[in-house]
């Protein structure tokens, strides 16, 4: 049963990636990163439950928990930034922020 879980995880990760790359709304982009986290959680759990060698271990799950911590803090900061950006430019469009462009 490992392969199906891995494909699912990969699919979720890829969908998150596609969403991140194609959507221009900052919040949705962040949401997509969260989606990518879900893909990773499944993979971690799957490898924990169906390890290639030896009995199932719980390390995967423990790591997933830490992943959650990271995701939470990332979301907090990210969204604070998004709000700030929104207040600056009044729009959530990612294209508004292109100061990195080389003139």
């Amino acid at each position: 049963m490992l392969i199906p879980y891995l494909t699912l995880g990969a699919a979720l990760f890829v969908l998150g990636l596609v969403g991140f790359v194609s959507r221009r709304n900052l919040i949705i982009m962040f949401l997509c990163t969260e989606l990518m986290f879900q893909g990773i959680v499944i993979n971690l759990a799957a490898f924990g439950r169906y390890p290639l060698t030896g009995p199932p271990t719980l390390d995967g799950q423990a790591f997933a928990l830490f992943l959650l911590a990271v995701a939470a803090s990332e979301a907090a900061l990210g969204l604070a930034l998004v709000v700030l950006l929104y207040r600056f430019r009044g729009t959530l469009d990612a294209a508004a922020w292109s100061t990195l462009k080389d003139s």
Partner: protein, 721 residues
């Protein structure tokens, strides 16, 4: 022509050669000290008008020492001969200027006379690596003695003349008066160094210093662009000759150095002549031809003659001294000095003769079609030098030197007379502008007539004797050459007296520049002229043996081969031509001279306004007048292409090489611009970039290392932790 075994030079005593007395060795430095003294007066601005006193004094001392040296060498020859042939101690002529030099005819000068050389080492100059050195040392033999006397004596006369010449009408010295005398002193110093040099490098030093002085003196009136251009042209043409000369010295070292014992310097005369016999004919030819280049440059022979006529831009004393009597004869002196190499290779001798003959006829023809008095004399000098080269080529170097000696007197005389004419005519020297000056300048006219007669080879004057010997040697080589020489003699007589009659003959006409009444030159100018005239008449008798007339004819009793030749026989020159001059030859050459003079008198006796020559000679005359368009050819063949090449190189330098460099510099900027467009500033683009990066990475990993399967296989083997 029999090649005299050079072994006769073998017993040249070098290390053991006796030393010149120390005071005689200071000879060249007196004019130098005089020149520096004048320079000092220039710097300190005091006593500038006395400049000429220093130089006259310096050259005077040099002349005296030269004379003394002449007799020291003579005494040395006597001692040497008495040591080897006690019986025939040659009688000594008291003074070169006394009329006849009686000579005991018993001595048969065919056997090679013992070589007498005096030397004086000063100090080591340049190291040639290892134990070979170039030293500053003097090498005096009878040739050098003779040359020194000629140079310093004529130099003294010219300097004295210049004191008068370089003053304007009311006797005040012209601007640059001191500079002129300083350069003259420097010139005499360089010429003496050239003659006294003991090795080829020092000869090269004298050679170039003389070139420098001629540059400075020709360009004396530097305000005039033509004078500056003439000076530059003279120096550069001489430099072309020196280029060959330098290569000759290097080649000489290359051939001589393997033969030389340790402790001997290959470039010293004594050593070089000692081992000259060991050189193969080919090597002799190479060295001779290269050295000949230098001679041609300096003595203004055919290919490199273009600078001498332009050198007339300089003040007349300069033309008289440098471009008639001394510097231009350096080439003849060098070829005579290195006779042992030329004799060693028949090719070289024929080249010398050919160039001499060609230049003689070539220059004579040009001289016939000029109107500037000094240019006529300039071409005549080239022609007379060509005579000397023919003498050298025909194995009669002592005749050549004899002609050089006599030519110095009458050519200097003629130039200085032209100078006093110019002085009187307010700087005009074109014979068409004036005529009938015998009334206005009686003394100059008399002196010029003597000079012209000597130059034309009128019998019993010095020119006649020396030219006659060369014509005789030419006949001995080949009758055609002899005939050519006689034809040139005819032309010489013709153009000399054409000039004389145009200037002094006919009604008195004066150019406006001459002022209301042109007066005769001051005494200070005329007295040296008189001395030179005396020399022009009697100098010839030094080379004549007054013996009982062989065939009873009037001239027969004057046979060539007098004191002069015996004196020179003991120098390093090698005479291969015979000595007996046929009496018939003397009659022929006198006849030729007289016909030339009469022809000139017939056509130009009354100084016609319209020159008859162009009509008679037609197109040939135009070529002669335009100096065979040689200058223009050189300009188009060498000068202009070189200049275009320079422009092309400079162009290439700017675009090609710089272009290459800028191209290299452009590469990084180009790449930078290309990459810049990637940074569009949109977040998505960066995300997409990352995604593509991951995909590429994965694909590469899977492709190369077998990807997950390999990992799984590893895991299966339990090697993963």
């Amino acid at each position: 022509m029999p090649i005299v075994a050079a072994t006769s030079l073998a017993q040249l005593p070098d290390a053991a050669a006796p030393l010149i007395p120390w005071y005689a060795a200071t000879l060249p430095f007196w004019p130098l000290i005089a020149a520096l003294a004048v320079l000092l007066t220039l710097i300190t601005q005091r006593g500038r008008t006395q400049a000429h006193k220093f130089v006259v004094g310096g050259v005077g001392v040099a002349a005296f020492l030269a004379l003394h040296l002449f007799f020291v060498v003579l005494g040395e020859i006597q001692r040497h001969q008495s040591a080897e042939h006690p019986a025939s101690a040659a009688a000594v002529a008291a003074d070169p200027h006394t009329a006849e030099a009686a000579h005991d005819s018993g001595h048969d000068n065919h056997a090679p006379a013992p070589k007498t050389v005096l030397r004086f080492p000063l100090y080591r100059w340049i190291s040639l690596g290892g134990e070979h050195w170039i030293d500053v040392n003097f090498f005096v033999d009878s040739l050098a003695g003779m040359m020194l006397v000629t140079v310093t004596f004529v130099g003294l006369m010219v300097v004295i003349y210049a004191v008068g010449y370089m003053r304007d009408h009311h006797g005040h010295p012209e601007p640059g008066y001191e500079r002129f005398f300083a350069f003259l002193g420097l010139f005499i110093f360089s010429m003496c160094m050239l003659v006294l040099a003991g090795n080829f490098a020092l000869l090269y030093l004298g050679w170039e210093l003389v070139g420098l002085c001629s540059y400075l003196l020709i360009g004396f009136y530097y305000q005039k662009p033509e004078a500056a251009a003439a000076a530059k042209k003279a120096f550069l043409v001489n430099r072309i000759g020196d280029f060959g000369f330098a290569l000759g010295i290097f080649a000489l070292y290359m051939f001589i150095s393997p033969l030389v014992q340790p402790g001997e310097n290959p470039l010293d005369y004594a050593v070089a002549f000692k081992y000259a016999a060991a050189l193969s004919p080919d090597q002799c030819t190479l060295v001779s031809l290269l050295l000949l280049c230098g001679a041609l440059g300096k003595s203004a022979q055919l290919p490199l003659h273009v600078w001498l006529p332009d050198a007339m831009e300089g003040p007349t004393p300069v033309s008289a001294l440098i471009h008639a009597a001394t510097m231009v004869t350096a080439g003849v002196y060098m070829v005579a000095r290195c006779g042992v190499f030329f004799v060693g290779s028949p090719i070289a001798l024929t080249v010398v003769t050919a160039i001499g003959a060609a230049t003689a006829i070539f220059a004579a023809s040009m001289a016939m079609a000029q109107y500037d008095m000094k240019r006529i004399l300039a071409y005549s000098t080239i022609s007379q030098l060509a005579y000397m080269f023919v003498g050298l080529g025909c194995g009669a170097p002592d005749s050549a030197i004899f002609h050089l000696y006599t030519h110095a007197f009458f050519k200097a005389l003629l130039f200085l007379c032209a100078g006093s004419v110019m002085h009187a005519m307010g700087g005009v020297i074109d014979v068409r502008q004036f005529s009938g000056l015998r009334a206005v300048l009686p003394q100059t006219c008399r002196l010029t007539r003597i000079g012209c007669l000597a130059l034309a080879g009128f019998p019993l004057l010095s020119g006649f004797w020396s030219k006659d010997e060369i014509v005789h040697a030419a006949f001995e080589t080949s009758p055609l050459l002899g005939a050519l020489m006689l034809l040139t003699a005819l032309m010489t007589a013709y153009y000399t007296f054409r000039m004389f009659f145009l200037a002094f003959g006919g009604p008195t006409r004066l150019p406006p520049e001459a002022g209301h009444h042109p007066h005769e030159s001051p005494a200070i100018m005329l007295r040296p002229l008189a001395v030179l005239a005396f020399g022009a008449i009697f100098a010839g008798y030094l080379g004549v043996r007054l013996s009982a007339s062989r065939d009873g004819s009037f001239l027969g009793f004057l046979a060539p081969g007098g004191f002069f030749h015996d004196y020179l026989a003991s120098s390093t020159i090698i005479r291969t031509a015979g000595h007996e001059g046929g009496a018939w030859l003397m009659y022929l050459s006198s006849l030729v001279a007289v016909t030339g003079i009469v022809a000139a008198w017939v056509r130009y006796g009354y100084a016609p306004l319209f020159d008859p020559d162009p009509a008679t000679f037609g197109r040939a005359w135009r070529w002669w007048h335009a100096k065979y368009y040689v200058d223009e050819c050189y300009d188009r063949i060498f000068v202009r292409p070189l200049r275009r090449l320079g422009e092309a190189c400079f162009g290439a330098d700017r675009n090609l090489v710089d272009g290459l460099v800028n191209l290299v510099a452009a590469v990084p900027t180009g790449v930078g611009l290309a990459l810049r467009s990637l940074q569009r500033g949109s977040l998505q683009a960066y995300g997409l970039g990352m995604a593509i990066g991951i995909v590429a990475l994965l694909l590469w990993w899977f492709a190369s290392a077998g990807g997950v399967n390999a990992a799984l296989a590893l895991a299966a083997r339990g090697s993963l932790p």
